[in-house]
């Protein structure tokens, strides 16, 4: 990492624009940065910050309507931004390669893994068939895949998400490129898998001496894994510098905001402990949920989960994909009948309710979905969306209904002008506020939040979490909060259930679960949370490590 060597990548005054019909809009403005040999540089920003466009420009993969307006991109000293497609092809894969965002759809479904790894060797072909096959196995072994010979013969759908990402990394490192562009390489993966994949990229980088341009929305990932951070907002660089320096003393207001909004163990202000003696709002006892697979076999998604939630508190249900957390809350919300077990809200057993009683029960429990793009009818105005639950129950006069809609919209922090708009005219955060307003308009006792903030940018996420806390204080709401993000959970929950493969492995107050008394699985989850190198992270880290190992 000598300073005298030429940078691998030198981007100067880069402007990128996209055309939409007749309009051209510039999305990247005068971006300049360098990546030195062996260095990991993180491009950090929220959606629309231009981080992905910048990365795509470097590998010459801008979408058809995108164009480099100005500036230069020097790769290994050669200016490539004006190169022809044919010339660019000769360096793609060989000098600069890509680890894509979504491993699930980034492999061709009808070709074997082996064929897809071998392809990059064929394209820049210097190996004969047998040598190439041996190299494929070697690469698959290097990225830590078990039984590489078997994997090479398998098709993408037979591999898990983490395994697919390993295959894609194998492709990216195959020709020992000077630079790897990792575009949100782990955002589609569970935290424990994310950690292993990032470790792998780190190890390979060290072994091969490759530089990495890491594109991420997750400041925690950037903090842990990069030497240098570039913070982008609205297509402009807000700040860049050595990672440690940026984290320790951020210069721009935006970076400070990102740092304070990013959920991390460190930033979490612990909630005051619960006073005992609160009445119970929700009790789940021995919940079991079986599904019949298309093959006729039974699959137990949820196996004997029990917890209770006191009124006015937040209970978090945590787990990775496939842990049964979504199944659990769908049973609570009355969308499916439990195979066995009991769910009590007040004096009602949800499982015993039929048609009309179930409909009446819905006034007590409301669900807020993860994706505010899918959970609002695209053809209804905000007014109609929020008003609808009232139409299903009491026949209130029109003026009364409108007054209530107006009040609740104001309550969730939206201006009255949104009432006449359609969902597509709103931002993600605004939509989620509308979804919350719809859930609250019936004045429910329990609100179930299904990953309700994980589709949002961190600054918006922080605002919604703030809103939820405020509503809970003022209205005495009880939340069941489902999340994969332990950092968020630590920040907002009073009690936690940790699920793993359908079983509840830990249950208790936040302090209990996050302390050393929890199971190995929960501790692995906590360890995997990115953001260890955040300025104040040391304290919480010690907090975890200090406890006696069970």
């Amino acid at each position: 990492m000598s300073i005298s060597a030429n940078p691998v990548l030198d981007v100067r005054d880069l402007d990128i624009s996209y055309s939409h019909g007749d309009e051209r809009s510039t999305v990247v403005h005068g971006v300049s940065f360098t990546v030195e040999p062996g260095e990991v540089v993180a491009l950090v920003g929220e959606s629309g910050s231009g981080k992905t466009s910048t990365a795509q420009a470097v590998i010459g993969l801008l979408a058809g309507n995108g164009r480099i307006e100005r500036g230069s991109i020097h790769l290994n000293g050669e200016e490539i931004s004006r190169w022809s497609a044919r010339r660019l092809r000769s360096i793609r894969g060989a000098v600069v390669s890509l680890v894509p965002q979504d491993p699930g759809s980034s492999l061709n479904p009808v070709l074997t893994i082996g064929a897809q790894v071998r392809e990059i060797l064929e394209i820049h072909g210097r190996l004969d068939r047998r040598e190439a096959d041996r190299k494929v196995i070697e690469l698959l072994t290097n990225v830590g895949l078990s039984e590489p010979e078997l994997r090479a013969r398998q098709y993408p759908h037979e591999l898990s998400g983490g395994m697919k990402q390993r295959v894609l990394i194998a492709i990216a490192i195959a020709l020992r490129p000077a630079l790897i562009i990792a575009d949100e390489p782990t955002s589609a993966l569970d935290v424990t898998v994310q950690r292993r994949i990032l470790d792998l990229i780190d190890d390979l980088r060290r072994e091969y001496g490759t530089s990495v341009l890491l594109v991420t929305h997750d400041l925690g990932v950037a903090a842990d894994r990069s030497d240098k951070i570039i913070v982008l907002q609205g297509g402009r660089i807000q700040e860049q510098g050595k990672t440690a320096d940026v984290l320790a003393s951020p210069q721009s207001a935006y970076t400070r905001k990102l740092l304070s909004d990013a959920p991390s163990l460190a930033a979490a202000k612990p909630r005051p402990p619960l006073k005992p003696g609160r009445p119970t709002a929700l009790t789940v006892s021995n919940l079991v949920q079986d599904f019949t697979l298309p093959t006729g076999r039974n699959f137990r998604a949820v196996d004997g989960i029990s917890f209770s939630v006191a009124r006015g508190t937040t209970h978090a249900v945590v787990g990775e994909s496939g842990s049964g957390k979504t199944t659990t809350i769908r049973s609570i919300a009355g969308f499916q009948k439990p195979t066995s077990g009991e769910i009590r809200i007040g004096d009602l057993d949800v499982a015993s309710l039929r048609a009309e009683a179930l409909r009446q029960f819905r006034r007590k429990v409301q669900l807020v979905y993860q994706n505010p793009w899918a959970s609002l009818d695209p053809r209804q105005t905000v007014q109609a969306i929020v008003e609808e639950p009232m139409l299903n129950f009491d026949s209130l006069p029109r003026t009364e209904r409108e007054a209530r809609v107006r009040a609740i919209i104001e309550r969730v922090g939206l201006p009255a002008t949104v009432l006449s708009r359609l969902p597509h005219a709103l931002s993600g955060g605004q939509r989620q506020r509308v979804a919350i307003a719809r859930a609250l308009v019936l004045e429910p006792e329990v609100v179930v939040l299904d990953e309700a903030v994980s589709a949002l940018d961190v600054t918006v996420q922080a605002q919604i979490l703030e809103l939820l806390a405020e509503l809970q204080r003022d209205l005495g709401l009880t939340y069941v909060f489902v999340s994969h993000d332990l950092a968020v959970v630590r920040q907002i929950a009073d009690t936690v259930s940790v699920l793993h493969n359908g079983r509840q492995v830990d249950y208790g107050t936040v302090d209990e679960v996050f302390s050393s008394t929890s199971t190995a699985y929960t501790r692995e989850l906590i360890e995997a949370i990115p953001g260890r190198k955040f300025p104040h992270a040391e304290t919480s880290r010690q907090f975890i490590k200090a406890g006696p190992l069970s």
Binding site: D22, R359, R362, A374, D377, R379, E388, N392, L442
Partner: protein, 295 residues
């Protein structure tokens, strides 16, 4: 409904363009972005619709009465599209024939739309055994090639314009049923529909407020395609002689009659055929624009 929106949008852009003559760039941009194909499609359909309603405005000739001595005349200023073997003006026959083709197509699509969408809606909303039985019935309808199915129905009902329309409509049922069902199932699985049930909606209310409005656009787009397709089918039946009897100037029949004079009077087959192509193409273009606005 959406097609009217598109149309309104289309006219509003032209209206906007005129006062801005000073701003050259704005006008140029509007001119470049103007959907000429779509405008032309609407123009063709409007014109043909007018032919069907008030044919006498467009021609002074009688579609059934020929001029003696004026047989098989080539197109000229006097006879825009020439005359047929009985001296009848071909343009007049095409204009007066519009009503037969259009009403036939409307009736056919109406049968398909009402019966097919009804089946699809029930199958998609009720699910379970009813769905299974209805969709197997649709499979049976699909298993008989459309032309053979309409021929079987025509044999049963007899020849004629209305019977041909019913026969074509019957073959459209399966398509509408499948589309409607898949749309209902698609919308039903959408999160906002679950959210509507979750906020206490009854099945009927959710169906009316969310499922129907959100599945309708595709059905409207499909209806436009089917309209063009029905015109084709009806003209085919007319050509084979199973539709309207002569001397009705139905378009398919016009082509069949002109076929005997291929070597001498090419216009007798070319002109009505081109009209059919234009109408069907327009219907498809409009359907496409509706479908695009849906997503």
């Amino acid at each position: 409904m959406t097609s009217i929106d598109t149309f309104a949008h289309l006219t509003s852009t032209t209206a906007e363009a005129s006062p801005r003559l000073g701003k050259r760039r704005g006008v140029l941009k509007t001119l470049r972005n103007f959907p000429y194909g779509l405008a032309l499609a609407w123009l063709v359909l409007t014109l043909v619709l007018l032919w069907a309603i008030v044919p006498w405005i467009f021609t002074s000739y009688d579609p059934l009465q020929g001029t003696p001595g004026g047989q098989l005349k080539a197109p000229s200023a006097l006879h825009l599209l020439g005359t047929d073997s009985l001296g009848r003006d071909l343009f007049a026959r095409i204009v007066y024939g519009a009503v037969h083709s259009l009403s036939g197509a409307v009736a056919a699509v109406g049968v398909g739309l009402v019966v097919g969408s009804g089946i699809g809606l029930i199958a998609g909303s009720v699910r379970g055994r009813v769905d299974e039985v209805l969709m197997r019935l649709v499979d049976v309808l699909l298993s008989i090639p459309t032309l053979l199915l309409s021929l079987s129905i025509i044999i049963l009902l007899g020849f004629g314009t209305l019977n041909a329309a019913i026969a074509v409509g019957a073959t459209a049922i399966a398509g509408f049923a499948r589309l409607m069902r898949s749309e209902v199932v698609r919308v039903r699985n959408a999160e906002f529909v679950e959210a509507a049930f979750g906020s206490g909606g009854t099945f009927g209310k959710v169906l009316w407020r969310h499922i129907l409005p959100n599945s309708l656009t595709s059905v409207v787009a499909y209806t436009a395609v089917q309209f063009g397709w029905a015109i084709l089918q009806i003209s085919t039946l007319g050509f084979l002689g199973y539709g309207a009897p002569p001397p009705t100037p139905e378009w398919g029949l016009l082509i069949a009659e002109g076929r005997n004079y291929l070597a001498t009077a090419w216009w007798l087959t070319a002109a009505p055929g081109l009209i059919v192509v234009a109408v069907v193409l327009s219907a498809n273009r409009i359907s496409q624009s509706i479908g695009r606005s849906a997503r």
